[in-house]
């Protein structure tokens, strides 16, 4: 190797070293203070310092990748020393796989959103970190008192319909939905962990089983696609009614010009479903995860998520604001009945087992 080449290598190495050192200085300067919501939420310095050492946080969630790219920008500008990577995944890959990995001694994701169906198992295995030291924890109502999960947004699951082929008058009660006239005009999304299991918790097993059996007897379309696809298919005219479907996707399709609307039958309103988020115990990036979750639960994070995805914020100061409700005419002023989280969780497994039999045809 010639002297010239060696010299060149030394210069390149020195430049790289200086760059790393300067980056470290820059990052160290950032440890002084990381704050959200115009400085009102200050992240404890020990979390920031820990996050700097860790350098990354891995999130599994439900956002679409383009939505995530927009959502994470302010976080990365504010916290450049933590690389936030995101994987969009369905329930099986999002939290089902996380449970399995954890049981095998592995932690592949640090923050997981949309946990609700997985909470019983996660609690059973003690695999959720305590979030009570998050600066935003006190301003949330939808959370585990023991700090194992916190709701990052609220979704309402009800009935979506095409306004040119069905009317709200035809969907006033739950009995209206189990009418044989719908047949293939009705589609059922394979989502027992949404409205059906809350029915189970509130109505009791017998009434729910009876209603679900009659619902499947209508011989509707059985759809296994994701929530977004179910609404797109409704908008495209694949069916006239879909149950259960979430409010914001239908609103988004309606805004795009599709003749669709969302409704929740008369009577007690029990559609609100908090999207629970947690940090997996044993995460090698615990501080970075807490830093990121602070951003998610800050007002600015909540507002940005609403702006990008249409979700209803769970933050106490924002959650009851009519401006953030996708269908305020359906959702405001209703008597809300919410089962306790643990009641819901107990009902979840039974509902899902019963539902699975119906889906498979008995």
């Amino acid at each position: 190797m010639g002297y010239l080449t060696k010299g060149l290598l030394i210069v390149v190495a020195a430049a790289l070293f200086s760059w790393r050192v300067l980056s470290g200085v820059e990052a160290a300067a950032a440890t002084a203070r990381v704050a959200f919501d115009d400085g009102s939420i200050v992240v404890p310095p020990n979390i920031v310092e820990g996050a700097m050492r860790e350098g990354e946080v891995r999130i599994r969630g439900t956002m679409e990748p383009p939505e995530w790219a927009e959502y994470v920008k302010p976080f990365q500008q504010r916290v450049p020393f933590v690389r936030a990577s995101f994987t969009r995944a369905d329930g099986a890959a999002r939290w089902g796989r996380v449970v399995m990995e954890h049981r095998a001694g592995k932690v592949i994701a640090d923050v997981v959103t949309g946990l609700s169906g997985g909470i019983p198992q996660m609690v059973q295995y003690g695999m959720l970190e305590d979030l009570r030291d998050l600066p935003t924890f006190p301003v949330y109502d939808q959370k585990d008192p023991q700090g194992r999960w916190i709701a990052t947004f609220i979704t309402s699951w009800g009935i979506g319909y095409r306004t040119d082929r069905a009317s709200k008058k035809e969907l006033r009660s739950w009995e209206d939905l189990v009418n044989a006239k719908w047949g293939k005009r009705l589609a059922i999304g394979d989502k027992p962990n949404l409205t059906p299991h809350v029915m189970w918790a509130l109505w009791g097993p017998e009434k729910t089983k009876n209603w679900l059996t009659r619902l499947f007897a209508v011989k509707p379309q059985l759809r296994k696609e994701g929530a977004g696809m179910l609404v797109k298919l409704l908008a495209a005219g694949e069916y006239d009614i879909i149950f259960p479907v979430h409010d914001r996707e239908v609103r988004s399709a309606a805004r795009a010009g599709a003749p669709v609307a969302w409704t929740f039958p008369e009577g007690p309103y029990f559609a609100a479903d908090p999207s629970d988020t947690g940090i997996i115990k044993g995460s090698p990036n615990l501080n970075a995860a807490k830093l990121f979750l602070t951003y998610m639960t800050s007002k600015e994070g909540q507002l940005l998520e609403h702006k990008i995805t249409g979700t209803v914020p769970a933050h106490r100061e924002l959650t009851n604001d009519a401006r953030f409700l996708p269908w305020p005419e359906e959702q405001l002023g209703r008597k809300v009945v919410t089962p306790l989280v643990l009641e819901r969780m107990q009902a979840l497994k039974e509902t899902t087992e019963f539902w699975k039999k119906l889906m498979l045809g008995g």
Binding site: R60, E64, P65, P66, W68, A69, S85, F86, T87, R88, D90, G91, A92, A93, W95, G96, R97, V99, M100, E101, R103, A104, G105, K106, I108, A109, G117, K184, A187, D190, P192, N193, Q221, L222, R223, K224, E225, G226, A227, G228, M229, V231, K232, L233, A236, G237, E238, Y239, A253, A256, A258, L348, K349, T352, K356, K357, M359, L360, G361, G362
Partner: protein, 586 residues
């Protein structure tokens, strides 16, 4: 001339001079481990009463999963549906593919190159996209074709969500595979037998029954079993067309068993897999026997013989061209045009003057900036290239032992190398998921959560094709060339570099094209094994686009992928032809 012992030749070739019998045996053990280890986990999984893969414990062993699965009436409906679906698909694809192969191999039909390229090109479209395109065309409520036929002729809508449609679509999708396997068989049947029969006054139907059919029958049965085994494992068409109507077949039933994490029961999925695994193993062993018999019929093949072609009249030509045109229209043109149209709309809309005003290029503009896209492409390329290299290397090693040695257990080696074809991707995914979780406990480096479990899974899945191709290539290569080189003092590496590689490179290119393309299109295995951006493949990205209803994005991505794979295949096919010509000159 120095006589070279076959077994020694193989070992010498790989530098195992001091362990003459060791290499074939080690190869047998390696291939066995690769194939049997996931199946071993599957068997134990079926006996485990733990719901989660990571919780397997010898104390929790029993027959609960079998009782649960086989006492459910739905299991027997699944078996019946799978039977009907498989038989229907095999019948359709076999008749269509064989007819196409016969027309292109044995008649003077014009535009042969065009049709040959068209038929093989149709394999570039992933099953997910093809099924999606057909839903968009023939869904009873939103289907573009249904809407048009209703508006123009007042026809009632055709319902694509049915067993008939599943069979029709999968049958059409399998026609190219049948065609590619039957074409060489039909092409190499010497015309002298038929001419002799004609001279003796036999009718065309008698010639078909008494000469052609017996000659192609072993090949036909082998192809039937190959397609049957493939169809039992496919997921895309049953998933998109069968599930909305509640029609479950084996692959979708397994998926249903593990897809809902609240009720996911991996033990039940494994138990359900066992009966099909048994059926598939019987099918594979039958295939193996039949394929062996094919070689017996090769004694009638004449070297360098060009088969005489049947001259068709102009009416017959028009009819055949029309039918082949309809086939290409249905399998390539219509789905491609549908995807192109859908890529331009925010919500799927039937083509109309009004819809024209709503077209936009948003999806196409967003392709290059789609988050995680480049990482997914990089992962997919790493997996495709690594898998292709592994499949080529392993297939060549297996074929070399099979063709050039007298290894006593080579039948077992051949069987083991072929048997993964009987393992559907979903089953392999479940067992590899389990295996990789355990592997991390004993390996010094991270294995789970990387792309390497997928490389292993794909290598297992594509080894049967690789070994079939390399064995066929090596059989045609006379060992005298290698012996001559050895006698002249050439080292094993020199022999491989200067003789075997140039002569077998066309085969290697074919294996590469096939493996590379399949890794890009295959959904089930990556879906079971991905854990995050480090292991996300393009197929997973496409699946989640479908799941979230991004019709325009998936259409735009899909068309780009199809174009890329088609161009790559064409370039590599040209390379393969050049290499073949160079090999002949050599």
């Amino acid at each position: 001339m120095r006589t070279v012992d076959n077994a020694a030749n193989a070992t010498e070739f790989l530098g195992w001079r001091h362990a003459p019998a060791r290499f074939p045996f080690l190869l047998l053990v390696s291939v066995g481990a690769l194939v049997i280890l996931p199946l071993f986990f599957l068997v134990f999984g079926s006996l485990s009463s733990s719901k989660l893969l990571g919780e397997f414990d010898l104390a929790n062993i029993g027959m609960q999963n079998y009782l649960e699965v086989y006492s459910s009436p739905s299991t027997y409906r699944v078996i019946k549906n799978t039977f009907v679906y498989t038989i229907g698909t095999v019948a359709l694809s076999l008749s269509g593919g064989t007819a196409l192969a016969w027309v292109l191999a044995r008649t003077d039909i014009p535009f042969k190159t065009f049709f040959f390229v068209g038929i093989t090109m149709s394999t570039a479209m992933p099953g997910l996209l093809q099924a999606m395109a057909w839903v968009l065309l023939l869904s009873p409520r939103m289907g573009y074709l249904n809407a048009a036929f209703k508006a123009w002729f007042g026809w009632p809508p055709y319902d694509i969500y049915s067993m008939t449609s599943m069979i029709a679509l999968e049958g059409l999708r399998m026609i190219p595979a049948v065609f590619l396997m039957m074409w060489p068989i039909l092409r190499h049947i010497p015309a002298s037998l038929e001419e002799t029969a004609r001279t003796c006054g036999s009718s065309e139907s008698a010639i078909f029954r008494r000469i052609l059919l017996p000659l192609i029958m072993p090949g036909l049965l082998g192809v039937s079993l190959y397609i049957m085994i493939t169809v039992i494992g496919v997921f895309d068409v049953p998933g998109i067309i069968g599930l909305p109507a509640g029609i479950y077949v084996f692959s979708t039933r397994i998926y249903a068993e593990v897809s809902n994490p609240v009720t996911a029961n991996y033990g039940a999925a494994c138990a359900l897999s066992m009966v099909f695994l048994a059926i598939l193993a019987i099918g594979a062993s039958l295939y193996f026997r039949i394929i062996k018999n094919v070689y017996r019929f090769e004694v009638v093949t004449g070297k360098g013989y060009q088969p005489k072609q049947l001259l068709l009249g102009w009416r017959s030509k028009l009819l055949v061209l029309g039918l082949m045109g309809i086939y290409l229209l249905v399998t390539i043109v219509l789905p491609t045009v549908t995807l192109l149209w859908t890529s331009l709309t925010l919500i799927p809309l039937p083509p109309s003057w009004q819809a024209l005003s709503q077209l936009n290029l948003q999806a196409w503009a967003n392709i290059a900036t789609y988050p995680n896209l480049w990482r997914s492409i990089l992962n997919t390329v790493v997996v495709s290239v690594s898998t292709s290299a592994a499949v080529i290397a392993l297939s060549f090693a297996v074929s070399y032992v099979l063709v050039r040695t007298e290894f006593r257990l080579k039948r077992w080696l051949d069987f083991l190398a072929f048997s993964p074809h009987a393992v559907p991707g979903v089953i392999l995914g479940v067992s590899l998921l389990w295996l990789s979780l355990y592997a991390d406990k004993v390996l010094p480096v991270a294995f789970y959560g990387t792309v390497w479990p997928m490389v292993i899974g794909f290598t297992i899945l594509f080894l049967p094709f690789g070994t079939r191709a390399t064995t066929a290539g090596l059989v045609q290569l006379h060992k005298e060339l290698e012996e001559a080189a050895h006698v002249s003092g050439g080292s094993a590496i020199l022999v491989f570099r200067t003789i075997i590689f140039p002569l077998l490179s066309p085969t290697f290119v074919i294996v590469f094209i096939w493996t590379f393309g399949h890794v890009f299109r295959f959904t089930q295995l990556p879906l079971m094994l991905f854990t995050g951006e480090k292991s996300q493949l393009l197929a997973v990205l496409l699946w989640y686009m479908w799941d979230s209803g991004a019709f325009n994005m998936i259409s735009a991505f899909g068309l780009t992928l199809i174009a890329f794979l088609s161009v790559l295949s064409l370039v590599l096919f040209r390379l393969q032809r050049r290499l073949a010509v160079a090999g002949e000159a050599f």
